[in-house]
């Protein structure tokens, strides 16, 4: 079993927020917490792109690295989870995460944070799988029911893929090939400025004389 991963296909995402709603409903997410959010670039402009973002379940998770009480752990399937009974609500994980995944409920008085809550890949937490206690603290444990996360299974356009990393990567690769693209759609150069094959590139800026 490879690591469990999400991939969101920005070509297919229509910003319906079905994934957000599915997650909130399935896991009874507290007020003020959005375990999953849809981020849209150039909203309202032709060619806008949306992508669904939640916890990335990082291999080298910064939230885990900074936690002062060591409440995080990674399962053998690569899912990053935490123990709410140990969590002290300091917020360090929220500061450390580049994706804004760890969040805190907003219904506490005087800015009281309470326990951190984040996407669990629908894998629950360190309680008995499928128990009431696990549901109350961490939401549904769909993995233990042989299901994939609610967000991915509910996606109306199958933009959001979730599951075994090898399998979802293969599904996505098939889509990319069917769109007539190849390896040029990935990589640092594509994201940060190297032109795709066959297209004219921007002229490099002239070097300044010292």
């Amino acid at each position: 079993m490879a690591r469990m991963k999400f991939i969101c296909d920005a070509e297919r995402c229509i910003e319906c927020n079905g994934c957000v709603t599915a997650c909130k409903a399935e896991n009874n997410v507290p007020w003020g917490v959005n375990r999953r959010r849809v981020v849209t670039l150039n909203d309202g402009v032709q060619g806008e792109r949306s992508i669904s973002v939640a916890c990335m379940h990082c291999s080298d998770a910064p939230c885990m690295a900074v936690c002062p009480v060591d409440c995080f752990y990674r399962t053998p399937e690569g899912v990053v989870l935490h123990d709410k009974d140990i969590c002290i609500g300091c917020g360090y994980c929220s500061y450390a995460c580049p994706f804004g995944a760890p969040q805190f409920p907003t219904n506490g008085a005087f800015g009281l944070r309470g326990k951190m809550d984040k996407c669990t890949f629908c894998a629950g937490g360190p309680e008995v799988n499928g128990s009431e206690v696990e549901f109350e603290k961490y939401g549904r444990n769909r993995l233990s029911e042989g299901k994939l996360p609610a967000c991915a299974e509910m996606c109306s356009t199958k933009a959001l893929l979730g599951g075994d990393g090898d399998v979802v990567a293969d599904i996505f690769r098939t889509r990319v090939l069917n769109r007539g693209k190849g390896s040029e759609v990935w990589g640092w150069g594509t994201a940060y400025g190297r032109p795709a094959q066959g297209t004219p590139g921007a002229a490099p800026a002239p070097a300044k004389k010292s």
Binding site: M1, D70, G130, L143, S144, E145, V167, T174
Partner: protein, 67 residues
């Protein structure tokens, strides 16, 4: 000795007491509650769970061959 010094100075002991460590998690193929388990695999069986995950992920694949 250290504990006595800390108590005497008004400091709390900061070692993690037994029972307060992070709890161990169970394997994802273990499930006591059978009510919501998806059909087609055997709860408690790791290989069956792995196959179920791979099979279920293909439900997201538009290019998978139709039965």
């Amino acid at each position: 000795m250290v504990t006595m010094v800390l108590v005497g100075c008004g400091e709390k002991v900061q070692t993690i007491p037994v029972g307060s460590e992070r709890k161990a998690d169970s394997q994802p193929w273990q499930n006591q509650d059978k009510r919501f388990v998806a059909p087609g695999w055997t709860p408690g069986n790791e290989a069956s769970w792995n196959a179920q995950m791979a099979n279920r992920a293909q439900g997201q694949n538009d290019y998978a061959p139709r039965k």
